[in-house]
Symmetry: C2
Subunit: 295 residues, 2 copies
């Protein structure tokens, strides 16, 4: 078997049922160089332990998933959410510092849906902007980039009112690109007639905080959250999207993040190997050749 | 019970399992003045009979559903699709002529998804434009407006590659607005951050061929095609969308089109009454007062 592409990063959600120890071990054992982590398994062992385990793994750290869920109006729930996001920012900084050279301090944000009983999607979007304003100074001080992730419009009301890359960039516009960027995930935005123009814009504005890949096909499963597939096993034109991202100059790691019941039920080591194979076949050929590191 | 709003039209899909006779009877019996029909039940009785039944009902005819499904590359299947669309145009003209005064000759088009084995969504969209170019002269000669219906992006790959009102208007741009317009359906476009600007544009360009309403809520059912609800029973801001459509000067009938297993299983007469009630509560208050007809 050929070595995994050096820019592949395994997002921990792809092997959701693996604890942090297992996730790091199987990623490294497969020859993958980078990993994106999730808050729950990190906090299950405690941040200091997680950071030590990450440092010991020798893996680069690419993103922390996830913050956000701040569309509720002012009140105790909103204060709790902002506080939780500040903790997530601190975790991100600690993990990025513990990861190998080339790690990035990126916190992925999923905005949240409509508050219970609300039909005001425009208001919810305005509160996302407000939350970014509250969190930006803390993120900047911590050296963390907040990555607004547009989610597919089928999640617009119950999970993420930010449905397009264009809206994510509009929300980010008032902030420095080092502080607020966007997550570019093929699954969520491939359908957008404006996707290539918005990827180019994101690059021009310096806001591609992370590039994540997986695939889409129908029929959707009963739980539409779990409809993500290995790259190349669906109908997304991954070549065109990847070339558009490469054309912006994005040269960092690329995560594969898959939510799928069958994949979660599989052996994590096998899933990481399969992820590396499918990445190698469907993403790697569209990346610029890696530059040799100076000796 | 108060009379249904005079601009309410029952789209036959809302009472899918009713044959044409039943659909016309229950619509008229409820005091509703207009109806949108589907090709299958019309062709089940034959076009001439259907037109006579419609004329006899005294109902206005609002749309014919549906044409489209022309994203496949050149070949026999594409030729068959174009021919089928020509027949649908002719049916639309015949039914509009048979409907009561104020009927409109509008054929709703659902573009179709990615052809089998294809990942080329841009190519599929280009073939939609090509099909419109082929069909426009026939539609113009028949006095029929083709209404491109953008469908929610969750249907982008298997049903309709036209995912936004903006794209529908871009595709329509080369044609006269009397020949090619767009269907504005709340369910499909409410999530779009650009929806209000695109509704205004559609009005300015004279391309709102039909306004259709129903509602969205989550969780989505296992078959995501059947996730449409009575207006007001979900989370769409129907007031803001309806006011935006009214602001364009749109003053014609408004269809309620619902696909839902429970509603389809219900008694058609009860469904029409419930549709009139929910329309009265959630749409009618946002319409300009009806002008009295001159005596």
């Amino acid at each position: 078997m050929t070595a995994p592409h050096p820019r592949l990063s395994i997002n921990q959600a792809t092997i959701k049922h693996a604890d942090l120890r297992t996730a790091l071990d199987v990623t490294r054992a497969a020859g993958v160089e980078a990993v994106g982590l999730w808050r729950e398994p990190v906090n299950a062992v405690g941040l200091d332990t997680a950071a030590a385990m990450l440092a010991d793994s020798g893996l680069r750290f690419t993103t922390h998933c996830r913050g956000g869920f701040f569309t509720v109006p002012e009140g105790a729930a909103r204060r709790a959410s902002i506080d939780e996001n500040r903790r997530a920012i601190d975790e991100t900084a600690a993990l990025a510092a513990a990861g190998a050279e080339g790690s990035t301090a990126v916190l992925v944000l999923v905005a949240g849906g409509l508050p219970e009983g609300s039909r005001d999607i425009a208001g919810a979007r305005a509160r996302v902007r407000d939350a970014l304003g509250e969190l930006a100074p803390h993120a900047e001080a911590a050296g963390v980039t907040l990555a607004i992730e547009p989610l597919h419009p089928m999640y617009a009301t119950d999970r993420c009112v930010v449905s397009t890359l264009g809206l994510a960039l509009d929300l980010a516009a008032d902030f420095s690109p080092h502080v607020v960027g966007a997550a570019v995930d093929t699954f969520h935005i491939f359908w957008d007639p404006d996707v290539l123009a918005q990827i180019a814009r994101a690059g021009r504005e310096g806001r591609i905080a992370t590039y994540q890949v997986c695939d889409w096909k129908t029929p959707l499963p009963a739980d539409v959250l779990l409809s993500r597939h290995y790259p190349g096993e669906g109908v997304i034109d991954l070549r065109t999207l990847t070339e558009a991202v490469v054309a912006t100059g994005y040269d960092r790691d690329i995560e594969v993040e898959i939510f799928h019941a069958d994949i979660w039920a599989d052996d994590p080591a096998a899933v990481v190997r399969r992820t590396a194979e499918t990445f190698g076949a469907s993403i790697a050929p569209h990346l610029a050749p890696a530059l040799a590191h100076p000796a």
